[in-house]
Amino acid sequence: MKRMPILPVEAYTSQEWFEQEQQQIFSRTWCFAGFMEDVANPGDTLAVQAGLNNIFIVKGRDHRLRAFHNICRHRGTQLIRAVGKGQKALTCPYHDWTYDLEGQLISVPEEEKEFPNLDKSCLGLKPASVDIWRSMIFVHPDPNAGSIMNWFGDVEPYLGSHQVEALVEYPEAATSYEIQANWKIVVENYIDVYHLSHLHSGTLSMYDHAKAEYGFVGPHFAFWEPLNKDYQADIEKNAPMPLIVPMDQLGASVPMLFPGLGLGESETSWSTFRIIPLAADRTRVETRTRVKKTSDWEFQKQEWRSASYWSKHISGKYPADKNSDKDDPMTSGDFVAEDIYACEQQQKSLKSPYFEIVATAQEGESPVREHQQIVLDYMEGRR
């Protein structure tokens, strides 16, 4: 059997593997659902798919979040659409069964005639777990999932020192795009330390990859690297946006929280990189970014100040010439485009009879192997 090098190639191509992962991994772990600002007020709702479970969150009048499985107790219809604001009650569109914000069934149309013996008190929505950590909302399908710190507590000390709650979202920076590759290819690209100096030679040179410190803490990957000397020497001028960490804590923390939630915690921005499996060979990535809470004018000034540095330090992997396609990721100078390209090119090769992986980098690709082992452990019931 061909391996990648730990997981079999089928793990990246077969529908059966994909469905098993939805069950064994994504239905059994904490799932990122959004930022705390997404459900700011009582009655606000937010729905998210966590593996096989659609779960919605509602903020109660006591400002506490509740999470329920998004299934009407009548015929199972999904109650809540993606986002709702200020709702007083939750009504299923199909037959107007209505629940209060505690998930209790409070009204059934024509109850006396159609359901003379219905005990509404036994038909509350099924609860799930919800918590907020580092400004992010997470849900878990199991109402007794326990403390979220059992899941994130050990890795937390290895993350950035950012006060995430004090940062504000920069909505224009949000992105959503589809990659024609398996979700694990996207994760492996994110945690592949070896590729940073090569694929991104023109786009991520402001970090000193040779000094990166990284490793797994439980199922989560922690990664930190310092700024390169030139960039740091005049950081207050060179930073593209206002700084968000103290001068003695400069650097980038780029962890990958299992399963498939990357963070990009840099000196100027804090981002989520959410990897959503769509099919064996299709993955959606959604990013959202938080920045310093300050005026547009401060951002503008910083952009002007740093423009000369960036014009000299960002370039394509290959130089563009008059014959090159203007959309070629290899000349784009955009590290995201470079990564997408690499992921899709790798996925394309998986079905070739000549595909094989014989050698992987001892250190720089060790996270790739370890992540595959963690996935395998989940799939074979060892985790």
Binding site: G60, D62, R64, L101, V130, I132, I148, M149, N150
Partner: protein
Amino acid sequence: MSPHFHTLTVSDIQKEMKGVTSVLFTVPNELKDSFNWRSGQHLTLRITLKGEEYRRSYSISSSPFSDDPLRITVKHVKGGTVSKYINEKLTIGDQLEIMPPLGQFCLDPASTLRRTHYLFGAGSGITPLFSMLQSALLAEPYSRLHLLYGNTNGDNIIFKQQLAQLQEHYRDRLSVSHVLSKPSIWSSQGYWRKGRLNAEMVGEFINEHPPYAQDAQYYICGPGQMNTLVKTALMGLDVPAKRIHSESYGGQLITDEPVRGMAATVQIKLGGTRHNVQIAEGQTVLAAARAAGLEPAFSCQAGVCGACRAQLIKGSVHMKARIALEDDRIANGEILSCQALATSPELVIEYRGDT
């Protein structure tokens, strides 16, 4: 449950402020296990003054997670014989008869739990809350706390300095909001709201401090009226009842309200048998049962240990003290028979054993 009294030595006495004294105890090694306490529990003292025996219960104000010794904090209440004695006469080296810690109004911290604790206190109701607050800060590092604390004025705030220091030290995890009913214009003590604690304030307090950790818990300790008010306000915001924990007057005890009770007939169900027993005016249900030769479980006779708990099925009683019962148990008809005076001519009660 059969708690016993043990002799403990007063190791130190600290004047918290005028009329409020903390008493620290040395616990001998052989009693260490019995005197392990949970934050929110109280100690029962047995003391004989001028030939008369008194039992009083006071909340423990120190945390089992700090290095502080066992400590109660006692406010001199008007007409309170024991609290007056403790505030004015008790000295270091004195020995007191004390029962091991009791009580179910507790905050038990755990290192990986991540909760938002809301504490509502008034006056000396702060004592158990102060222990809870320290425990959560020390032993539950992922959790946050918000204290709403009502007093008459800035001079009446027990643990004022300590709270300010904790707030400074744990800036990201603790907020303290003072409500003063009659703030002195000469005082520099800042406050969050002026007036008596009311439902609107409770709502505004939650709005200003929405839970970050979503496992929110609510603890209320003050006079009964305040507890009802806060609990009602919280439930009005859809806080589930199981998240609300309350205790009336944090161990202050003992409400010697002038209720004499009345003569009554009580049907007592004990061990599957029914007995009809007469109660004299001023006699407790437990005393009447024992006088009739029945032997229900009991122990402290101070309304503290809960051993004599019974279910009131018919009629009404007045309880002189009721620290062993959380408010919602009382609402469900549980009584402490050692404290229960009849206030209706016919009662039906049942001893159901330890539940």
